[in-house]
């Protein structure tokens, strides 16, 4: 099974490589819940297309279905890079409706949100395997990056040989520690930013063009 799967993946990757020269790359925005993935996706989409991708919220698991914004054209240094942005639900190993009860939510709604969030994680993992050409991995720089989820996802991304950009988000917050994130994943370049405030987005776009162009 695993052998066939690998074979199939290799074949599809080779054919993708042959035909995808001018097709936009699908870039998945991954990371734990509440890292600011949708805020970043909206920032990118608004900056280059004028539209938003989806609603942002401080309640975890606001994004429970992967949302795609296609044909985002980013201009850098006189050349244009076209990408499809896939904003994915936050990946986690545990989803508990009780977490949502603190946010003034009725139990029924919290249970439903929890179920949808779980489906969302399953979907995000599926897309990571099948459907993305590169990953923007968003981390909240005010929290500890050494988690099982981060380690596992970065490991998967590396094993797939996907180009990956690590973003240390929320630098506008007082407790932000970009260095901690850089130390956690020294094999990757870490770019600090505040997607909410739009800080350092220029460097982010330059790196997106460089990594995924």
């Amino acid at each position: 099974m695993g052998l066939l799967t690998n074979l199939r993946d290799s074949i599809s990757r080779v054919t993708d490589g042959l035909f995808a020269a001018d097709e936009p790359k699908r870039i998945g925005i991954y990371g734990p819940p509440n890292a600011g993935k949708t805020t970043l996706a909206n920032r990118i989409a608004r900056d280059w297309t004028g539209d938003a991708v989806g609603p942002e919220s401080h309640i975890p698991h606001e994004t429970r279905r992967a949302r795609r914004k296609e044909g985002v054209e980013i201009e850098r240094n006189g050349r244009t890079v076209t990408i499809d942005i896939v904003d994915t639900p936050g990946v986690t190993t545990k989803v508990d409706y009780k977490e949502f009860l603190d946010h003034d939510m009725e139990k029924d709604d919290a249970v439903r949100r929890s179920r949808e969030a779980t489906e969302g994680v399953a979907e995000a993992m599926h897309w990571l395997r099948e459907d993305v050409d590169g990953v923007i991995y968003v981390l909240d720089s005010t929290t500890d990056p050494f988690t099982q989820v981060n380690t596992m996802l970065i490991g998967i991304i590396e094993s797939q040989d996907l180009p990956a950009l690590i973003l240390a988000n929320k630098t506008d917050l007082p407790g932000a520690d970009v260095q901690q994130i850089a130390n956690a994943f020294p094999q990757h370049e870490t770019i600090p930013l505040s997607a909410l405030e739009g800080d350092n987005m220029d460097e982010v776009y330059t790196k997106i063009a460089e990594y995924f162009g």
Binding site: T92, T93, V95, T118, E119, A122, M125, R129
Partner: protein, 223 residues
Amino acid sequence: MPHQCTTCGRTFPDGSKEMLSGCPDCGGNKFQFKPAGATEEPAGDDAGSPGASADPSPSTPEGPTGSTADQGTSDGAAADPTPDERAADPSPGEAADATRPDAAASADRSSETDGTEQIADRSDEDTAQASARSEVVSPDELDRASREVENTEDPSPAEGEQPGIDALRDELNDQFESIRIVSPGQYELNLMELYDRQEYIISLQEDGRYVIEMPDAWGIQDE
């Protein structure tokens, strides 16, 4: 309480699924089926010797049917269902103790000696129960339950204790389940398993079922 664990005596209502993965109290996996109203203390059912229980008071084994037996002796053969009983009854003397319980056992529905007959029937009861139950419980569930019982039998058939089963279940969950429903609204996800699966879970339902999108024949779905 038609089902009863033969090891610890715990009883279960008819159609109970609790016992499908072994007795929750002692882990035993042998149960006897008792029709409604026929329950007695399980202890001594098969261990107690018929003679000992009959010896102290000859009327004890006859308790429930005593009146019938008495009528039998006074009214004659017309009211008596079995000739055996009549043969035993006219000699109530202590000398007949050895044969008496046997004779009573054949007629007396609820005496302790009758318990041994039920025990002898247990294996038949089990298969009958299993087939009857399979109409209520889905085949998957039954299958899963029987597998768990087999697993608990490995160390020792009678000592599969509750913690052992739980630990085993957890271990299996860790190994095979991509999404574990702890309770409605609470989920644990095995990310590697979710990532490794070709099929894709698109919808979860509260009853523990889920909808998956099956992969096409390999190599086709990438346009």
